[in-house]
Amino acid sequence: MKHFNRTRIVPVLRTSLLLALVVGIGCAMIGAETAFPGPVQTSGVGPLRPAFTTETNIDGAVAGQALEIERQAIGSSQATASGHLFYAAAPFLDDRPGRQDGLGDGMVDWNQFAARRILRSAPRNDLGFDEGDVVLEAEFAWEQGAVFDPWVVALPDGSVRLYYGTAGGKIGVAEAPSVDGTFTKRPDSIVDGVSPSVVANPNGGWLMFFESPMGIGLATSSDGFNFDVQSEDLGWLLPADDNDETPNEAQLRSPGALVAVTPAGRLVIRVYFEVVFDDGSTRISMAGGDVDWNFDRLEGYVYEGDVEAGTPRPHLTPEGITVLYASVASRNLQRRHLIAGVIPPHHRFAEPPAED
């Protein structure tokens, strides 16, 4: 091993320092803070984000309002893959009775309105809709004067079926050659219940989730017309917690279903529904199930806004985004508003409006 003398050490140190300086200055940089990992949600559990006005192009009375109609009350609505909106609505009666006693603040008193019928709005390039035209009205005795809760299923040949609820507590079905065609009703009801939501059964045939007097029921069919009721209550009501001062769930109703394929490639059935609490308030929750109908109930709520919400009808975009159309209580206690909600909430169809 050699020993350094001073004349040799100095150039060594000089070279080393130069190297360190070049590498250090040339490469080092001051760190910029980066964002936390972004959110990911593919399960459709929400929470629902009311659509921005830039997404609906409707500056309504409530956040996310997707349809503006004058002097009418709105029931459940469904946006279809074709971009049409089917909804139930009825205009005020000129000479209407007083509001029913005991009706929750957010509920529509349909006695104050003309008979409900089903309307269809044409597609737009956003999440909002213009007022539509009537496509279905009550005509059979078993419908008892009102049709509502539309649910449209498109078939591969382009024809559509429109399932609907009636004031008679029975579900009917109508058919049209295309989504914008004329509907022809089948004369008989197909299931006892209201608020039908029909999706293709991943195992073949059709599944209908519907509201029964017991809760949310499930019926199956091979042809979409003849249904066998498998259950009148799928048992999704959360048990009451007597130690908790918050209201307990009392009833589930108005199911709206979809079948999704997750990024993992598995088929799941998601059913959104309205939860009625024992104090009369309402929220939206959901359940997820596999192809064998094993369901998990979400213990929280998809929509917990400051207004009461219900009648959820989901629509899945090709990108896997759920747009949930629902009705929310209005400041005018006589009617409700249709809103569009986006799940997952971080998704943007359009940038939010600039703040004033």
């Binding site: 050699k2 350094f4 150039p11 070279t15 490469c27 964002a35 949600q41 199930g289």
Partner: protein
Amino acid sequence: MVKATHIGAAALFALALMLPSAASATPPDVYGFGVRSVALGGAVSADVNDPSANYHNPAGLAVNEGIRLSVGYTSLTPQLQINGQRSDVERFGQIQIGMIAPVQLGSSTIAFGLGLVLPDQRLARTRSVIIDRPRWEMYDTRSQRVYLASTLAFRPVDWLSLGIGITFQATSELTLDIEGDLSLLGTVENSRLRHGFEGDLTSIRYLQGGIQLLLHERFRVGVTYRGEYTLTSTINALANTPIVAGGAEAARLRFALRSASTNLFSPQQVSVSTATYPVDGLRIGLELTWYDWSKHPSLISTNTIVLALDPEIVDVPDEISSIPPMDLGLHDVFVPRVSVEYAAVDNEVLGLDLRAGYAYENSPFPTQTGLQNFVDGDKHYISAGFGLHLRDLEPTVPGALTIDGYFLYMRLAERTHQKQLLVDGVGDYVSSGNLFGFGLSAELAFE
């Protein structure tokens, strides 16, 4: 209303702090240490003798006759994806400095070494875990850490070298103490709150050691051990504040939070390595490393929160709960590595080595089927590099200058995370990714 707002703020503060906290291992564990060693896929423990021996095998320090100094820069750019969307994981760059100082004592050699990694963006980072946001645990935070190793090696006989080292890290304990008066009726400006902050970074040390057996001029064996350590991070927040109304104390608010989390964990590791020189100028390295990942503690912090108001003039929650620590479910892994080095040019003035390395790391993280979302994937590691030796630098430098460089590609295999619960807060996702890196260093080896 004022009191409710203030108590709400305190509760929010508590909730913000009680979020789970972050973790993982050292930068060299993830990205390697030393440009030559990275180019060789880390399969170097049997014969490493450059400054990267401070990490790979301290015994290699004593297989030197002169002082060696190196400084280099390495960079790794992750391009990681979840469901086809780019994850926001930042580029990682670091300055690596290494030094070896051997001393000849008769027929034996003793060598001192120092290895230092300085991240070029921040010296340390701790980030909360947001449990329902999938995070690339191996790449998000763990790289943001200074690494300092001090080593000593002894070569008593020609065929045996022994090394031992200590690596330094720091745990942290931070305390926020709030006191003063909280006005019940006035505006925020009427409240007089003071806070004190105390931070304590306590150093911890862990052991590493190694052996190199120079069994034959064409065959060497190395064994390296690196000890386990856990860095904890503790946050204390204390408030003991009278709430004043009309000049008198209306109530007293007491708030205490203690959040203890694992900030960084490095598993104990054992590497067994061989280096073979079948013909002149050709080196083949093999290495197998065991990582004891199954000991990894939960990444979710343990929190104790007390919120009391005396008398209780507004409702305060009886209990503020958070997610309890959960088993990560990690398993031990064995990582095989292989490397090839060929001396393409080798004369008294110039030398050029060409290098390549490969490693396969079976991810210790399981697929994320439950509440946790720590994303990782099995990793293929492919590297290629060079070493340019300038051997005739006298009289400017009494020794040789080596310029090393590498390019590195890591492929994180696609992994499907299918949740058990069909209403999971995140849902199913698919993760995959690529990482691209380069490194450049200069090393002076004095005669």
